[in-house]
Amino acid sequence: MLSVACVVPLIAILGFIIKAGITHVNWAFLVNVEKPVGETNGGVAHALAGSMIIILMASVIAVPIGILCGVYLGENRNSKLAYWSRLCVDILQGVPSIVIGIVAYIWLVKPLGGYSAISGSIALAIMMLPIVVRSTEETLKLLPDSIREAAFALGMPFHRVILKVILPCGISGILSGVMLSVARIAGETAPLLFTAFGCQFMNIDVRKPMETLPHLIFKYAISPYNEWKDLAWGASLILLVWVLLLNFLTRLITKRWKVQL
């Protein structure tokens, strides 16, 4: 019974957003950029492109660092450094996203002299890190020690054991962590408010402000104009579908690349 109760909010949200947003999603909506109030056929292409670029850059920053850190934590379970790093990662996971946004503003936006997509990416990368680290660590912990021993007994040096045995065996878990972290940050608005800021035009210069889907929804939803509010519903639907697709893809990868132990 209770499990049904968990499904109800999801179905309700999905249903509502699809109902409110579906009529506003059409080809023009996807390929046009923002239009001034009063003109029709405004779109979200600039926000879609912006979101993709910012998320891609955030992943490029966070994924390698996160996996390296996760491997370290997974392989050195009892060292002092691992204990403190693990604690820090847990705390980082708990830091509210708005705080990360403010810190990124003070550390990046102010010294760089203006809002920029890259500072937004860095803020999101900070949010991704703990998820990637912990999922990598948990995946590696689940691998039996016997595999490591087998590799060492064949005379393999440590770095090869990690690269050739441990990582390939854990690839599905690590990738699913990465995908989940991407899904997590795809909808983040708060850290972007002070960093990527937003923009009305199609912009692919990462040193300039850039629009993103969640920020566009925020901007349109609080605007007084009805046609903008409609666009916000459409954009919500796109964002929702995107995140659901990512989750679905994660499932697929986990299943497909799973190494049977």
Binding site: I147, A150, A153, L154, G155, K164, V165, V259, Q260, L261
Partner: protein, 252 residues
């Protein structure tokens, strides 16, 4: 006279402050099967893992004394070189789950980045699998995952993987304790074949196994090497009362 291949001199090992293996001196002759038996926690596995320097991988584990391989101290050699010369097979079959049967056999080369021409690889794989009497069973499914095999086959696959590296000595850590009786007897038959080319050191819980397949037996008790003799001699006429008590089943 038979030549000694592995020799330990005043070998001690520790986990932190816990003195696990106490002053062991043993000489292991080439191309023989040596069984190491003793009750649980007597240090036999720890001693075995000291021979190819797997012991030191455990945090807090230390050792002193000497282990000589062909009169060369393994403690002074590079651990990777030691492990190429002294292979090891574990209690639970542990093929690499991400690799095919073929790649599992060749894993020691492949994962170490040693490039071999295809013909030579094929040759090593077939030869190694024949050595462990697995070739006929798997020759048509070499591309399937190693974990697809039964437990006994997996264990033979792990032996093949070790044999493929052409070591001089192979250590077996209770190799049949996770296997059913039929697989166990298949693996035991292998010992007789393998000793023509390699020296085998087998840790076992099972006294019958020690009696069945070894040429010599070492009895460990409380970290000490109590007795080391011809297997026949040991089981018919043990010199030490502790050995006698153990093989007559007064404690285990």
């Amino acid at each position: 006279m038979e030549s000694t291949i592995v020799k330990s001199v005043n070998y001690n090992s520790y986990f932190g402050d816990n003195h696990v293996v106490k002053n062991v001196n043993i000489e292991i002759p080439k191309n023989h099967v040596i069984a190491v038996m003793g009750p649980s926690g007597c240090g036999k596995t720890t001693f075995l893992r000291g021979i190819n320097r797997m012991h030191e991988l455990i945090p807090g584990a230390t050792a002193n004394g000497q282990i000589l391989l062909n009169n060369e101290d393994v403690m002074a050699m590079h651990p990777i070189f030691v492990r190429l010369k002294i292979g090891m097979v574990f209690q639970r079959p542990n093929p690499f789950p991400n690799l095919s049967i073929y790649d599992n056999v060749i894993a020691g080369y492949k994962l170490n980045g040693i490039k071999l021409p295809k013909a030579e690889r094929d040759n090593i794989v077939q030869h190694s699998l024949e050595r462990v009497a697995l070739w006929n069973e798997v020759k048509d499914s070499l591309n399937k995952k190693g974990t697809f095999l039964s437990g006994g086959q997996q264990q033979r696959l792990c032996i093949a993987r070790t044999v493929a590296m052409e070591p001089e000595v192979i250590l077996f850590d209770e190799p049949t304790s996770a296997l059913d009786p039929i697989s166990t007897s298949t693996v035991e038959e292998l010992f007789h074949e393998l000793k023509k080319n390699y020296t085998l050191i087998i840790v076992t819980h099972n006294m019958q196994q020690a009696a069945r397949c070894s040429d010599r037996t070492a009895f460990f008790y409380m970290g000490e090497l109590v007795e080391y003799d011809d297997t026949k001699q040991m089981f018919t006429n043990p010199k030490d009362t502790r050995t006698q008590n153990y093989i007559t089943g007064r404690f285990s």
